[in-house]
């Protein structure tokens, strides 16, 4: 069985720089505009599917302009390093409907296929054709940035090590293999180095962008963690206060929490986390009790 393509995590900066498509490696005179299946990023990621969480900043209906496709929606989804462009046409009806109704700005998660469009030489457009798109909470965005930073750093560190050894050609391939990189990925890394001229300079620049990206969510994540901690304390106290021998009604708890300035979603999330941690339990459906 063919393994499912991994949904890669990349920052917009790296994704939009990924102008090397695997078909153009095979033959440089690709005449047909059809998108290839694989893009190779500057750090050597083989991109077929991509998973992105960011802020949707703009939605546009291009349907009337092109005249070809009845419904073509374009959206801009921003991460701390840049913007992903998403196109949803008539063959992505669910995504198109989503885009037509989504609130802007808001946090969205997108799973999609990487597309490259090269109308002429030296003008390349990279975009995402969504398979799934959904509204998410800001914490998911923060986690995505962390995950992406972690995976990106791993790739950058691997490249650094390889550059440090000053390897080329066969030696490079061998060196990658000895680090447990599978042959396909090793080839992608070699292609990337050859095509983009990825070097130590690129790596240190990229690391600075990653740093900035992390700092940009630090404040946000920090306050949210505090808020959550705070909310957790309040609800814990409420449970203590209201919880008689029988426990307290869930709806009643939500109301009390709201009166203390905790929105319903937050309260619900906190209660769930208390439940999963085993701090409280549900003796009957809809009734909560401290342990």
């Amino acid at each position: 069985m063919a393994e499912r393509e991994i949904a890669q995590r990349l920052f917009a900066k790296e994704f939009n720089d990924s102008t090397l498509s695997l078909t153009s490696v095979l033959s440089y005179d690709v005449t047909d505009m059809n998108s290839p299946n694989l893009l190779i990023s500057p750090t050597g990621v083989r991109i077929n599917r991509i998973f992105v969480v960011g802020v949707i900043t703009e939605v546009e209906n291009l349907g009337s302009e092109t005249g070809k496709e009845r419904d073509l929606w374009k959206a801009r989804i921003s991460d701390p390093t840049g913007v992903f462009i998403v196109y949803a046409g008539q063959y992505q009806p669910e995504a198109a409907i989503f885009l037509s109704t989504v609130a802007v700005p808001s946090y969205v998660a997108v799973v999609g296929k990487a597309r490259i469009y090269e109308p002429e030489k030296d003008s390349v457009f990279i975009s995402i054709r969504p398979e799934e798109i959904n509204s998410v909470e800001s914490t998911i965005r923060d986690r995505w940035v962390l995950d992406t930073a972690e995976l990106t750093l791993n790739r950058l560190d691997l490249l650094s090590e390889v550059f440090f050894d000053k390897m080329h050609g066969e030696d490079l391939a061998g060196s990658l293999r000895s680090r447990g990189i599978d042959p396909e990925s090793a080839e992608a890394i070699q292609d990337a180095i050859a095509f983009y001229g990825t070097d130590q300079n690129y790596i240190s620049k990229f690391k600075q962008s990653v740093r900035k990206a992390l700092l940009s969510i630090k404040e946000n994540a920090g306050t949210e963690m505090q808020q959550k901690d705070n909310a957790e304390n309040v609800i814990f106290e409420l449970l203590k206060e209201l919880g008689s021998a029988k426990g307290v009604q869930y709806s009643c708890l939500l109301k009390e929490a709201e009166s203390k300035g905790i929105p319903e979603e937050v309260a619900d999330a906190v209660i769930r986390s208390l439940l999963s941690k085993g701090d409280c339990y549900e003796p009957r459906l809809g009734v909560l009790k401290l342990v």
């Binding site: 393994e3 393509e5 998973f51 969480v53 398979e131 959904n134 995976l151 690391k207 992390l214 963690m225």
Partner: protein, 433 residues
């Protein structure tokens, strides 16, 4: 044969260095007489003689073997068996073969004159699963080459009753010795061949991993929390996951604390930690794996379903594949794809876990359907609440033709400390000066 084929034979001979002209001629002639077009005939001949040797593999890699391969090893046992196929008695030879990396069972469908102790190289062998274990097969196309004695290949499989760490035990092991702590243990009454017996089931863990075990003999004096050292336990494979079987051939002894190569407390109180999905995909099956990722797709078939009251199969329109028209039993489930950037696995959640993760009970889900009058309403609503979210799943993984699946035993929203992760990442990223 017409001389006009001579240049083609010449060409083929050139391509097939070392193959006799006459052999090529005979083969080509045969095909031409069947009016096979010349190009196709040439291709066929080329393929047939082509020394495009299938890759040589070791027994430890047999579960991931290509369709056809070459393998060198020693026959340690062989026995002739026969069975009746369509009224005809067919002979076959089966036994064990080993190399320096492991031992496995083989079946030869022809008489290759195999003897115990022979060192052989078999070409065009293939792998088949038999009782959930990869087995080496010598078929019509296989060629067996006898080789001179090679001392680097062990003489007996007892050697492969080697002591292994739990995580290293895999389908190439028939017998294995190891050490571990009994972390779970319970007795079960079963009927084996018409006789009532009590077997012991449980889990054995060391610092590298854990595996389920079954003991067919009493294990007096062993209890949960005990460290044991066992020798020659049988390894069985179920859905790609090895399980240890203690029989009368197996011996074990309690390990005193000071002889434990691992920390007992650590294993007993071990909190499950997530591993990259890529490392789950590498294995045919993993016992009690924990992974964390994003739900990137909720598959059709999730939501409210109906099951056959007899066999539990999913039924559509009250018709079961095996039992005809039945009164379906309502159930809820989630089938989704979890992806962590290193790999993707299918996850299956039963009703209870689906209710927790989806945040609605089955009754509430039924109401959604009643209100919206659409059967897909619950599926759509699950997609809206799940896609993109983070999830940690714990359960057994197994590889099948549909991909790798984890059937969840428990599932929760990961709550690790984002801030401290962030800080440690920033430490690796000093500011440019």
């Amino acid at each position: 044969m017409n001389d006009k084929y001579a240049p083609h034979i010449e060409e083929l001979a050139k391509a097939l260095d070392g193959i006799d002209h006459d052999d090529i001629k005979i083969e080509l002639d045969k095909l031409i007489r069947f009016r096979v077009p010349l190009e196709e005939a040439k291709r066929t001949v080329l393929n047939k003689f082509s020394s495009k040797e299938a890759p040589e593999i070791k027994i430890k890699d047999i579960s991931n073997a290509p369709k056809s391969f070459t393998l060198k090893g020693r026959i340690t046992s062989v026995e002739k068996r026969n069975f009746v196929l369509k009224g005809e008695t067919v002979d076959l030879y089966s036994g064990k073969i080993l190399d320096e990396t492991g031992v496995c069972l083989f079946t030869a469908w022809n008489d290759f004159c195999l003897n115990e102790g022979d060192i052989i190289r078999v070409h065009h062998a293939y792998m088949k699963l038999w009782n959930n274990r990869p087995e080496l097969n010598f078929g019509q196309r296989s060629i067996v080459e006898k080789l001179p004695e090679d001392p680097s290949i062990p003489r007996t499989e007892q050697l492969f009753t080697q002591t292994k760490k739990i995580i290293e035990i895999n389908s190439s092991d028939l017998l294995v010795s190891s050490q571990g702590i009994v972390t779970e243990m319970y007795h079960r009454d079963v009927t084996v061949k018409g006789k009532d017996t009590t077997i012991i089931e449980g889990v054995i863990a060391d610092e590298t991993g854990k595996l389920p075990f079954t003991s067919w003999v009493p294990m007096d004096g062993v209890d949960i929390g005990n460290a044991i050292s066992f020798k020659a336990a049988h390894v069985r494979i179920f859905r790609g996951i090895p399980s240890l079987n203690f029989t009368h051939e197996t011996s074990w002894e309690l390990l005193p604390d000071n002889k434990c190569p691992f920390s007992k407390n650590k294993i007993m109180t071990h909190e499950p930690t997530s591993i990259p999905i890529a490392s789950v995909l590498e294995k045919n099956g993993l016992f009690d794996a924990v992974v964390t990722g994003n739900i990137i797709s909720v598959r059709p078939g999730s939501g409210l379903i109906e099951r056959c009251p007899v066999c539990n199969r999913v039924v559509q329109n009250n018709v079961c594949r095996a039992h005809g028209t039945v009164e379906g039993v309502k159930d809820m489930r989630i089938k989704a794809i979890l992806d962590d950037g290193t790999g993707a696995v299918y996850i299956m959640l039963n009703r209870e876990l689906s209710e927790t993760i989806y945040g609605r009970s089955m009754d509430e889900a039924e109401n959604i359907i009643k209100l919206s009058l659409s059967k897909d309403a619950v599926y759509e609503s699950m997609k809206r609440s799940l896609i993109g979210t983070y999830l940690t799943v714990r359960g057994n993984s197994s590889k099948s033709e549909f991909g790798t699946t984890i059937v969840a035993r428990s599932v929760w929203v990961p709550e690790d400390d984002l801030l401290s992760r962030l800080e440690s990442l920033l430490l690796k990223l000093p500011e440019d000066v």
